[in-house]
């Protein structure tokens, strides 16, 4: 309707102003006046009247001094840097128009068969709004770009800007802009920026992304210009856990085995002790599992827990868990997205065999101060987004802590009074958009855990991380980023039993990474990713210092270890045709173990021990001790069988130069890391995968299979001493592993009822064979690894009953993990001992658990300062006592069996969340 009126107005004006020319001269003086004032002044000194909408006119101050100057000159100057055009009628009326120009003649052939004299001074045709709109019944918002300039000969212009989420002000990445019927399109980059060449005139632009409602805007282009959009996100999707942000990603992504968890809203999942836990949610997806509730590591596709690369804003975090893995060490409110690569790992990542957990903190709000807070029974959590420079830079701060410690201290119970269990973590991120092409990001992270299990020992561990990232866009085709980061993990054990065996033990690992990654789009078919990375490890395996004068503990200081891990990488995303896409990648990893160090050389062909030691070689500082390296292939292909059905296949190989030393059956925070050296070789793995993917209306289906082999997997002799052992190579040996599985995922992410069902059948096997009996396990045959759980089933479902109430539940079933169980007892030197079965010959009972949760939203009054909601959940409703481990000790000469379980009773929790 509005358009029609405009057109009528236009025609009317055109009619009235035919062939009118006005060259009135005026004298006027103004200084630092607003344009409106100047207009009023002109109105006062002349008999002209201006017609315009005040909001069109900006507040910029102008100055001028004109003596008998043509009115047109004055007006030209006033509106020189604006999008305002004017038209002077014969009736001494001046119409100001935004963007568009009022034409005083009709274009050629506008009115056919009429004898109108056409002035040919203008080489361009005016832009008719109605024209491009004629088949359109809907209304589209019209955006006019640039100032129409009748003398411009250009026919296409560049429009650029950024697109953000209206509510969170976070950039919307990978949003597609399609110019209807013109075959032009572009995608927003990671910062939400886009740039598109548009033909002059009216363009219907479609905005497409799963996170927004599909939207069409009419953009009338007069000139080069800038347009920023704040779009409404698709709230229907965001109310639930969004596993994939892109509708077609499931079928369209070229590489298989990617899981993306968007953390915008995971509030509907039942909580454990009030904690929203990303990694726990990841573990409900196929291929990702934990050894048990109290295990701090994650096993991805049958890989050991040390084979995962956890990255927060590109910086590594060695232990992403708190309190033995019961909580994850990531503040859920500060996380933007978590992407897990379990199949083909992109070439830019390396150094771990099984997976990459790429965690990105959220884009902070640059407009308004906002935040989120949660109060739970164990921890409290706060996240703030603080704008520093509007639309340019902002700070994201997240903090979380337990209050269990002071509660424990204030208790009357003697045994609890002395126990400790506390943790906290802190994250800060600063983002600065220097300009369209440059941005800077700095992230800092710290987490700390402290606990004592017995009154005489105090354990603590901490993660530290600092990252600096500079992103630069060279041009439309090429962009890159330079990343510098340093990470540290350390733990400490203080043993103070007031005996002469008291000690203080410290362990520390540090790594510094410098990485350059580039992206170059050759053409529509080829997109290159390439770069280099250099990582320096510095590891302090620990020292043990006697505590107190009485201690007979000899101070032990294990010498530091140092190594350099470098890589160059290149990948090409090659779109062969509409159906077939390839991702071809290669990474060459190079590793050098560096001095200063001593390396022991053992007799060939004999088990390594103190007795077969030939000599100890000393290496000077930074002297190369041993190098390893090789190419890592990361390739995959996707083929569309039909539009919503695709198949993918891939092969990837990986190197890992660092190993955890743990003689526990599950990963614990006190496991130490060891660098490969002359005696310990790097781990290597190969994975083949194949999958079928299907999108069906609201459902996404996928079936993936994989076969994986690994070699040089570090294992330990029974009863090995791994902590503070300088002769560590005498306690370990390396074996081969293989794992395979089928993973099924059915997901519904839309609607009031949504969630997913995941099932995987997988096996993870290890073979430790050697000619020496002490380095052989289970007669050198393949046996199940500690985390081999063939059947793994998860069902996560949310049901939104009303706008305020939603109900969710979680069901998990897993085959019990393997254990080594006694198959008899015997007496030796007066003690009763257990004779164990072959390693992992038996299994603990199957694991199953049901959690339920209820979310109650606060009321939705628009004027409310903050939005709040309550979450009530019950973890393990069935009260199933899932054993976590079973172990056997000889106490007072008698064999005693223990079973431990973590959450054996239903655990109810209430948390209160507030968002402002």
């Amino acid at each position: 309707m509005k358009n029609l009126l405009l057109l009528l107005l236009f025609l009317n004006i055109t009619y009235n102003s035919f062939a009118q020319k006005n060259n009135k001269k005026i004298s006027i003086q103004f200084e630092n006046s607003s344009k409106i004032d100047v207009i009023t002044q002109i109105e006062n000194i002349t008999d002209y009247h201006f017609y315009f909408i005040e909001s069109w006119i900006d507040d910029d101050l102008i100055s001028g001094n004109y003596n008998n100057a043509p009115l047109r000159t004055v007006l030209n100057d006033i509106f020189t840097n604006t999008v305002i055009n004017y038209y002077i009628t014969s009736g001494r009326t001046i119409f100001l128009t935004k963007n568009s120009l009022i034409y005083d003649e009709l274009p050629l052939n506008f009115i056919k068969n009429t004898n109108v004299k056409i002035d040919t001074n203008h080489n361009l045709e005016p832009i008719f709004l109605k024209e491009s709109n004629k088949n359109q019944n809907e209304y589209h918002e019209i955006i006019k770009i640039g100032k129409e300039n009748p003398n411009l000969s250009q026919t296409s212009f560049t429009l650029s800007g950024y697109i953000r989420n209206k509510t969170t002000k976070e950039p919307l990445t990978d949003l597609v802009l399609i110019v209807k019927d013109k075959g032009i399109n572009t995608i927003t980059n990671q910062d939400g920026y886009y740039s598109i060449k548009l033909p002059l005139g009216s363009n219907l632009i479609e905005f497409k992304s799963l996170v927004i409602k599909d939207l069409v805007k009419k953009i009338i282009v007069y000139n080069n210009g800038n347009a920023n959009f704040d779009l409404d996100v698709n709230t229907e999707v965001l109310d639930e856990v969004v596993i994939s942000s892109q509708k077609n990603r499931n079928v369209a992504e070229v590489i298989a085995g990617i899981t993306k968890i968007e953390l915008k809203e995971i509030k509907n999942i039942p909580l454990v002790l009030g904690e929203r836990d990303l990694l726990k949610i990841a573990a409900t997806l196929p291929g990702i599992s934990t050894a048990g509730e109290g295990a701090s590591g994650y096993n991805v596709r049958g890989g050991k827990a040390d084979q995962n690369l956890f990255l927060i804003d590109e910086g590594i975090i060695y232990n992403p868990t708190h309190f033995f893995g019961i909580f994850s060490a990531l503040n859920p409110y500060t996380v933007g997205s978590l992407e897990i690569y379990k199949g083909n790992i992109p070439v830019e990542f390396g150094g771990r065999l099984s997976s990459v957990f790429d965690i990105k903190t959220k884009k902070s709000n640059t407009e308004n101060l906002s935040g989120e807070a949660a109060i739970g029974p164990v921890t409290s959590n706060l996240m703030l987004e603080i704008p520093i420079v509007k639309e340019k830079s902002s700070l994201l701060v997240g903090a979380r802590g337990t209050y269990s410690d002071w509660v424990l201290r204030s208790l009357d119970n003697e045994s609890l009074k002395n126990s400790q269990a506390s943790f906290y973590d802190f994250i800060i991120k600063y983002e600065h958009k220097i300009n369209k092409n440059n941005s800077l990001q700095a992230t800092g992270y710290y987490s700390k855990d402290k606990f004592s299990i017995t009154s005489d020992s105090l354990y603590s561990y901490s993660n530290q991380l600092a990252t600096l990232k500079w992103s630069h866009t060279f041009n439309k085709k090429s962009r890159g980023s330079l990343i510098l980061n340093t990470s540290q993990y350390q733990f400490n054990i203080g043993f103070d039993a007031s005996s002469n065996k008291d000690f203080d033990l410290n362990y520390k690992i540090n790594e510094t990474l410098l990485k350059l990654k580039m992206q170059y789009i050759i053409n529509k078919k080829h997109k290159l990713n390439y770069g280099v990375s250099n990582k320096l490890y510095s590891l302090n395996p620990g020292s043990k210092e006697p505590l107190g004068n009485n201690s007979i503990i000899n101070p032990i200081r294990i010498p530091k270890e140092q190594a350099l891990e470098s890589a160059v990488f290149l990948s090409d995303n090659y779109k062969v045709n509409k159906k077939l896409s390839l991702s071809l990648g290669i990474r060459y990893s190079f590793y050098a173990s560096l001095g200063k160090a001593s390396q022991r050389i053992y007799e060939e062909g004999r088990p390594r021990n103190e007795g077969t030691l030939i000599e100890t070689k000393d290496y000077k500082k930074n002297e190369v001790i041993k190098t390893y390296g090789g190419p890592e292939i990361r390739t995959s292909a996707r083929y569309f069988l039909t539009q919503g059905l695709s198949i993918k296949a891939g092969y990837s190989s990986t190197y890992q130069f660092i190993h955890t030393l743990s003689n526990n059956t599950t990963q614990s925070p006190l496991d130490t890391w060891k660098l490969s050296d002359a005696n310990i070789k790097p781990q290597q793995a190969n994975q083949f995968n194949f999958g079928v993917y299907k999108n069906l209306d609201a459902y996404e289906l996928s079936i993936e299979t994989y076969y994986k082999t690994a070699k040089n997997i570090l294992d330990y002799k029974i009863g090995a001493d791994l902590l503070l052992n300088e002769l560590i190579e005498t306690e370990v040996f390396q074996g081969v592993g293989k794992s395979y599985g089928v993973e099924l995922l059915v997901k519904k992410s839309k609607g009031d009822f949504n969630g997913w069902l995941a099932y995987s059948y997988s096996r993870s096997l290890i073979k430790l064979d050697s000619e020496f009996s002490e380095e052989r396990v289970n007669n050198g045959e393949y046996f199940p690894s500690n985390y081999d759980k063939p059947h793994d089933f998860s069902l996560v479902a949310n049901y939104k009953m009303t706008k305020r109430f939603s109900f969710s539940f979680n069901f998990a079933y897993q085959t019990g993990r393997p254990v080594t169980y006694p198959v008899g007892t015997y007496s030796y030197l007066g003690n009763e001992l257990a004779l164990y079965s072959n390693r992992n010959e038996f299994r603990i009972p199957d694991y199953y658990r049901l959690d339920v949760g209820l979310n109650i939203e606060g009321n939705h009054k628009i004027k409310k300062l903050a939005h709040s909601f309550w979450n009530i959940s019950i973890y393990n409703v069935l009260g199933r006592n899932n054993p976590y481990s079973v172990f056997f000790v000889t106490e007072n000469g008698q064999l005693t069996a223990y079973t431990s379980s973590i959450f054996s009773i239903p655990i109810p929790t209430i948390t209160y969340n507030i968002k402002f």
Binding site: S410, I453, Y826, S837, Y898
Partner: protein, 390 residues
């Protein structure tokens, strides 16, 4: 109110996490493996050497399962064959006394009654290392203030050809019954008691007992900063342990071992020590140096240990280290008490559950003490050992 609730939840959580997630349970056999267990420690001491053979028993019941009727021999590479014969169930003793000598390979061979054959790898005697200094000293726990008597070894030979040691000890202590009454008065009314009564009464006063260690004490002197000053604590006795109430003696046996034997005992020791709450050491079968001749994959438990042994004994009195200080308590409570029921009194005197203590005051009941306070022989004791020096 809200606070209290949070407290409660956290309390529940923490107590739950820290305390109650580990609980003992009755082990049930899933499967049973019948395996031969061999305890064979041969030393350089010339004596009747002993070897013990047994089998595993099921998890539910403790039924010692000795392995009888096996043929046990030790051969050396000089073709000497030492035969063993079963002297008691599962216990095999060498037919002649012998001691292992240096630079010889010893092989243990066993043929069980079911015809299965087992052999050890050739094993040599490590060099003998004497115990240079064994001493007792009074120690204090800095934090708790608790006092102990600690037995240490130091002055290890820095150039000794053996670096790996296992220790055993045997402690012997003197017991003096605190409520003992000499039942052979030198003077008094009536005829003197017969001399055997006097002799027996004396026997009730002083007793001895010996207890052998059951823990495996291992040391690798390579880990010592300084072989001379580094001391190894062999035994720690709390100040109030009754065994040091009077006079105490400890015999320490030091077995110099090969690295392989040391490693075997080290692993064995790991399985004897307690576990961490939330993480579990990888358990498993560990083999020694004995294998089945017929089936290499058959599990055989045990180590054929050829060690050179050295001994040292020390004595001390409680008063040497704690002069003029109160003695540790006696093994049982010796506070006198009365039994009002006269029948019950006589029954318990008759049954030697209690003994008279002192003379009753007129009109009061006779006080009694637990019999062990008056007659130490009712405790577990042995005759005065030959080595005992007062």
């Amino acid at each position: 109110m809200k606070h209290t609730k949070i407290y409660y939840i956290v309390w529940m959580l923490i107590s739950f996490l820290v305390l109650s997630c580990t609980e003992p349970f009755n082990i049930k056999s899933i499967d049973f493996e019948d395996t031969l267990i061999i305890e064979a420690i041969i030393t350089d001491e010339v004596k009747y050497q002993e070897i013990k053979l047994s089998r595993t028993f099921s998890l539910e019941e403790f039924i010692p399962a000795e392995e009888s009727n096996a043929k046990v021999t030790i051969t050396d590479n000089s073709q000497n064959v030492y035969e063993f014969e079963e002297t008691s169930k599962g216990k095999y003793t060498s037919t002649i006394p012998f001691g292992a000598v240096a630079n010889k390979d010893y092989i243990l061979s066993i043929i069980t009654k079911n015809g299965k054959s087992y052999k050890s790898n050739p094993t040599q005697l490590p060099g003998m290392v004497p115990i240079n200094n064994l001493y007792a000293t009074r120690t204090v726990n800095e934090d708790t203030g608790n006092e102990n008597m600690s037995i240490f070894i130091n002055e290890f030979d820095p150039i000794a050809n053996s670096k790996y040691f296992r220790y055993e000890y045997e402690e012997t202590y003197k017991i003096v019954a605190p409520a003992w009454i000499y039942e052979c008065p030198l003077s008094g009314p009536g005829p003197p008691p017969p001399p055997e009564v006097c002799a027996e009464s004396l026997e009730k006063k002083t007793c001895y007992n010996t207890i052998a260690s059951d823990s495996i004490i291992l040391v690798n002197t390579n880990t010592f900063k300084d072989n001379i000053t580094s001391s190894l604590e062999i035994r720690k006795i709390p100040r109030n342990n009754p065994i040091i109430r009077k006079r105490y003696s400890i015999l320490v046996k030091q077995y110099a071992q090969s690295l392989e034997a040391f490693t075997f005992y080290k692993i064995l020791n790991k399985f004897l020590s307690s576990e961490n709450l939330l993480s579990q050491n990888q358990p498993g079968f560990f083999s020694g140096n004995i294998y089945s001749v017929d089936n290499k994959n058959e599990k055989v438990v045990g180590y054929f240990d050829v060690s050179s042994v050295s001994f040292k004994r020390i004595f001390f009195n409680f008063s040497d280290f704690f002069p003029n200080e109160p003695l540790p308590p006696y093994f049982i409570d010796c506070a006198p008490f009365t039994i009002p029921d006269i029948n019950e009194y006589y029954r318990r005197i008759e049954a030697r559950e209690v003994a008279k203590f002192g003379e009753p005051l007129p009109g009061e009941l006779q006080e009694v003490v637990n019999i062990a306070c008056a007659d130490c022989r009712t405790l577990e004791t042995i005759a005065k050992p030959e080595f005992w020096i007062d």
